[in-house]
Every structure is written in C-alpha cells, then in structure tokens.
C-alpha cells in the first residue's frame, strides 16, 4: 500500500516541496511588506553553500552541527536580502532589476559558486545530514508512515513555520501593521508605523527563510555541494506565493503539489505509465499554472479579494506620497 503511486507522490511531494515552502514563506513576508524580491534563487544558493560549509568545517556533534548550519544559512540568506533591502528601500532602486541583480550576484554563476569553489566544498558528501525522525517501524505504518513519519526535522519545522506565519499575519498587532504597510504605506505611516523598519525587517526575514530553503537541499535532499544545486527552486517559490494568493496555509498545499509534480515523471516512468510527454508537462506545469493564476487574479476586484498587496513593488517615499 505504501508503494502505491499516490502515497509515494505525496511523500516525495513533501520532501521536494519543503525548500519551496520555506522559500515561499519568506517571499510572502517580504511581499506582504510591499517588497518584491526576485533574488530568492540567489539567496537560496548562498544559504545552501554556507550551511554546507558549516557542517563540513564545524567540529561538533550531529545535532549541534546541523542546528548551527541552519542558523548560518539563515544569516547568509538575510545578508543577501540586506543588499536588496538597502537598494530598494533606502536608495529607491527598481525592485525588479535589483532582485535580478541579486540572483546574478549570488546565484549559480556568482557568489555561491565562488564560495563553493574557494572553500573546496565540491568533492565530499555532507558530514552530517538530516534523517527521518521516527523509527523505521513507525515509518512502515500504512499511508501516514511514509508521508507523516518518514520526514526529517526540517519538514516538521516548516509546518510550525506555516502556523506561526499564519498566526503572525492574522492574530498579532505587528502582523496587522505589516499588512497595512504592504497595502497602504502612506496610511500606515500616518498611523505611526515605521514603514522603512517593517520593510527592512521582513525583507531580511524573507532572506533568512530562503537561506534555510537552500540548506534543505545541501543538508537533506541531496547532501553535497554542486553549483546551482537548487535548480530553479527559487523561481518556483516566487511563483508559489502568487499561486497561494499570498497566504501561508495555501503555500503549504502549493509547495507539496509542485513538489509532487517534480517526482511524477520518474515515478510514471518507473511504473511504465505513459501520459503523453510527461517530462515536458510535469516540469512546465508549475510555471504555466502560475501564469493562469496571475491571469485570474489580474482584475482589480479579484486582486483585492485574493490578497495581492496593493503597494507591492512600489517604493515608499514620504515626501512624494
């Protein structure tokens, strides 16, 4: 039963969806404050390489090494996001160009590759990796075994993050303030909310999440370092935020759906099932669906109902409001 296509797909959807989920939660926080950051891929890669570097070089037990690695990855991602934040919030640069610049600067042919090369990380597998938390006997339980109990700590932590982000956005004062900053920065400013501080804080938090997303690759999914290991997951994370209408709980659903799509083509091939050009449609479906969702939310009424932050992508200049 645990080998049935559906169970395998959901279980691997959770595995491959976890970095997408972290990345999307981070991007969601940044976008809710009105900052579009197209540098997710770059921030992920720098987080991935720095997290990997930490487990390779830190002489400590498995638990401590991994915890430190996730912390370093988050810091590295936040450091990358700080560049973007400074350029677009303080210097009022174009968010699109700056985000792309961040991906070029940090991405597969930039800083992450430079660091991986300079720190000699490419040759060895990770010294410590995240393993499934529960014993093998529990993992054999039907259906919930592989899906729920076959996962590592990063997966369970991501579930906690979804709940926390949801509570933060909908049940706390800073969360309300954050939404105000993203919807109407002028009004938020008049209320005495520090727009600049909120945007900085959430752009940096977004970077930290992206860093952890990257570390998910190098410490759990494929525990090694190769240039461009994230393989475009950062862009899917950006797509996912739109696909999830800027809501954390829908990010979870979307992340696992997109994750399962990644596992679909090899699974179908292994089972000798032919559904047209499988490789093509499973790979392109996340992007095509995002375009369709964008089309659906493009009328202004739908945008308001579905939650696109009204001030997304626009710099806030108090003197010019």
């Amino acid at each position: 039963m645990n080998n049935s296509l559906l169970v395998v797909l959901v279980a691997s959807g959770v595995v491959y969806g976890t970095p997408l989920l972290y990345g999307a939660l981070g991007e969601l926080l940044a976008e809710r404050s009105g900052v579009l950051n197209l540098g997710v891929e770059g921030m992920m890669l720098v987080g991935a390489v720095m997290g990997f570097w930490t487990v390779q070089r830190l002489h400590a037990g498995t638990g401590l090494s991994l915890a430190a690695a996730v912390g370093v990855a988050a810091l590295a991602g936040a450091a990358m996001a700080a560049i973007h934040a400074f350029l677009v919030i303080t210097l009022r640069a174009s968010q699109i160009v700056s985000g792309l610049a961040l991906t070029i600067f940090a991405g597969a042919a930039g800083l992450s590759s430079y660091l991986g090369n300079d720190l000699n990380l490419a040759d060895n597998p990770a010294r410590h990796t995240f393993h499934a938390l529960f014993p093998a006997s529990v993992q054999r339980w039907p259906v919930v075994g592989p899906i729920v109990f076959g996962q590592n700590v990063l997966v369970y932590a991501s579930w906690a993050c979804v709940v926390l982000v949801w509570l933060y956005l909908t049940r706390t004062r800073p969360g309300l303030n954050l939404r105000a900053v993203g919807e109407a920065p002028g009004a938020a400013d008049a209320m005495g909310i520090d727009v600049v501080a909120y945007r900085y804080a959430h752009t940096l938090a977004g970077g930290a999440f992206a860093g952890v997303a990257g570390a998910t690759f190098t410490l759990a999914i494929t525990p090694q370092w190769v240039d461009g290991i994230t393989g475009g997951a950062g862009w899917i994370a950006i797509a996912l935020v739109i696909f999830a209408f800027w809501r954390p709980e829908l990010c979870l659903v979307g992340a696992y759906f997109f994750g399962a799509l990644q596992a679909l083509a090899p699974q179908l091939q292994a089972r000798n099932i032919h559904l047209g050009p499988t490789v093509l449609w499973t790979n392109t479906l996340p992007y095509v669906m995002t375009v369709v969702v964008l089309l659906l939310v493009s009328t202004s009424g739908a945008r308001r109902r579905l939650g696109a932050p009204a001030a997304l992508g626009e710099p806030y200049v108090r003197e010019e409001r």
Partner: protein, 383 residues
C-alpha cells in the same frame, strides 16, 4: 538615515545635469571593482593580478577581442530587447525564453531552407525572419495578457522562460522531433540535435587587428538593430508615444494615445530582438539547436541582457558598448576558469556593477544634502 529630519536628506533633482549621466555609470564601475577587490582580498586572492588576468583575457591577448565579440553579440540582442521594453516601463524579463524560442524557430528555418539547395542568403534571411517571429510570438503571450487583462508582465514573462527552456530540452532529449539527430552511430547512444547544413551557417567578416578579429554577421545585425531602435524611439511618432506612455501613462491616455496597441507592439519588438539573438546563436556560433542543459541555457544571456540594458540606461548605442564590456567579462570568466581564478567571480563582479549602478541612479535623480537636524525640521511654534 534617509528619513526627513535626519542629517542626510535626499531631494529630487529638478534638472538632471548631463555630465552626471556619464559620470555615475563610470563611477559605479570603479566602485564595483573596488568592492569585488574586497571580496578577493577577504578570500585571500590578489585583486590586482586577478584584474590583470581578466583584462588580458578579455581584450589584450591574441584573439581575445574575437572571443569577446562572440560573448557580446547575444548580450547586445537581449540588452536591446530589454531596453526597448523597459523604456516604456514594460518589464519584459522574458528575454531568456524569447531567445530560446527564436533559436528553435531559426533552427527549423535553417534546417529546412538550408537543406533545400537554395542560395545561402535565402536560408540566412529565413532564419532571421523565423528568429524574430519566434521571439515576438513568445513575447506576445505576456504582452497580450498585459494588454487585454492587465496581468503583471514581470512574473508571466519570467515564468515563460522556464517553459521555453523545458520545451527546448524536450525537443532534442525526449522526443524524435525535427531538430533531433536521428541517424548515425552517436544518435543511438546520446541524443543530439541536427547540425545546420553549411548554407545555413552565417558568414564572418575579418578585421585585420590582433592577428585577425572575426566579426560575426550577428554583430553587424545587432548594430543595425540598435540603429533601428534608436531611430524608432528618437525620431518617430511611435517612439515618442511609447516614451510618454512610459513616463506618464495618464498623460498619454488624456492625449488619446492607444495604450493597448503600444503594449503589443513594444512587446513584439522586444521579443523579436531577443529572438534574433537566438537565431544568431544558431547561425553564427553553435551551428545547431543547442539544447544541452549546460550549453545555451547555462549562459543566462536573457538575464544578463537586463543588466546590460540597465547599465546602458536603455540607450541603444550605450547598450552595444556595455554589451561589449560585459561580454569581455564573460569571455574572460570562461577562459580563465581554473585554480588561481575562482569560478563565480565574474557573476560577483557583474552583480556588484549592477548594484552600484542601481545605487548610482539615486544620484542622478536625487540630490543628497547634508543638513543639521534643526534646519531639516524647523520647529513650528504653537500659535
């Protein structure tokens, strides 16, 4: 730091002095190399020797300029594509995908007309037209969504890059398509694409410096395209309206300009330019449809083109110049990969150039004034 009341105030300039428009990009370039120097020093490299190697490999060594032209030609096309769209504030970041689709269409044209025994010029012309058409068609998807449904073109054009990339790979690796080599010994072992027939290979002129610099036909077409874009935007009513729509959409609407048509036209022009880059990749350099995931798709010409356009401040001729410089950087990065030249350095430098150019934009548009707190926020006595 920048909030009013602080010591440093940012004020909008009423007039932008002309010298700043040149001084700021030049200054950003210097700043970027200083910052990359810091990265190099921090990781235990000698920046001066790295830069020396970079300069030699890009422009000085025998044959370097020829290699730089090869790297610069696609950047010129994608740079022009981005400049043409961004000038109207249409953020077409789909140059990458439009280049792929242009390459696919042009390769089909080259295979078909090059193999039919007609004159070479005809096959080449067909490739140029097909490349333009393919790129334009791909760009018109986000263009039409934007024009008719006001769908944000930034994300849609970006998403379509990936779709185009997967289609490109699929055509050669996962299906027996027209582009795939199906005969011969290797074809059975490893999927490859069909080579273009000789009459579909683009000719090269030679300039006699540095022991002969080959000037690809694509570079000439890029120069021509830049001229056309310049004339179109500076000397025609169409270009004027596009710029008004970019700077002040409301004013344009009051003046009765047709927004929808302009969006479609500008996206088509932008896509056609990127598609030409794809055609030139087929005809000038690769002589086949390069679907290798580590080939054309690892070059990120479309994204780098946005860098080029932004650095050239969306001026077509400045774009050509910047494409040449950035092309030199990329060429040097490719040649120098090795022990004492860290990989990824070129991306770091490119990113830093772009960051400092973006930061520098602030100095063109705004004036920084140092003021005392008391001066900046005069205390109003209660009446």
């Amino acid at each position: 730091m920048v909030r009013p009341g602080g010591r440093l105030r940012i004020e909008r300039r009423l007039r932008q002095p002309r010298w700043l428009v040149v001084a700021v990009p030049a200054g950003s370039l210097v700043f970027a190399f200083l910052a990359s120097g810091l990265v190099l020093v921090a990781t235990g490299h000698d920046p001066l020797s790295s830069y020396r190697q970079l300069l030699d490999a890009a422009f000085v060594n025998n044959g370097a300029i020829g290699q730089t032209l090869i790297s610069a030609t696609p950047l010129a096309f994608t740079g022009l594509a981005a400049a043409a769209a961004f000038r109207m504030r249409l953020f077409n970041i789909g140059g990458e995908g439009q280049l792929y689709v242009g390459a696919i269409a042009a390769a089909a044209a080259g295979l078909y007309f090059g193999g039919s025994g007609g004159p070479s010029a005809f096959a080449i012309a067909a490739m140029v037209v097909a490349g333009c058409a393919g790129g334009a068609a791909w760009a018109l998807i986000p263009g039409a969504l934007r024009a008719f449904f006001k769908t944000n073109e930034i994300i849609t054009s970006l998403m379509l890059n990936y779709v185009a990339g997967y289609v490109l790979t699929y055509l050669v690796f996962n299906t027996e398509s027209y582009w795939r080599q199906t005969t011969g010994f290797n074809a059975a072992v490893f999927p490859t694409s069909k080579p273009l027939p000789p009459s579909a290979n683009w000719p090269t002129a030679t300039i006699h410096v540095q022991g002969g610099v080959p000037l690809p036909l694509g570079a000439g077409i890029a120069l021509l395209a830049a001229t056309v874009v310049w004339v179109l935007y500076r000397r025609t009513r169409f270009g004027f309206e596009v710029q008004v729509l970019g700077d002040s959409p409301r004013a344009a609407q009051y003046a009765g300009m047709r927004t929808r048509r302009k969006i479609l036209a500008v996206m088509a022009i932008s896509g056609a330019l990127a598609g030409l880059g794809g055609a030139s990749q087929d005809g000038d350099f690769r002589h086949t449809l390069d679907a290798d995931p580590n080939g054309l798709q690892k070059q990120y010409y479309g994204y780098a083109g946005i860098v080029v356009a932004a650095l050239g401040r969306y001026n077509p001729f400045a774009v050509l110049l910047v494409a040449f410089l950035v092309g030199g950087l990329q060429n040097a990065g490719n040649t120098l990969q090795g022990a004492d030249f860290p990989s990824g350095l070129v991306g770091v430098i490119q990113g830093l150039i772009l960051f400092s150019a973006l930061g520098g934009e602030l100095l063109v548009r705004y004036r920084l004034r140092f003021a005392r707190r008391a001066e900046a926020t005069p205390v109003v006595e209660p009446a």
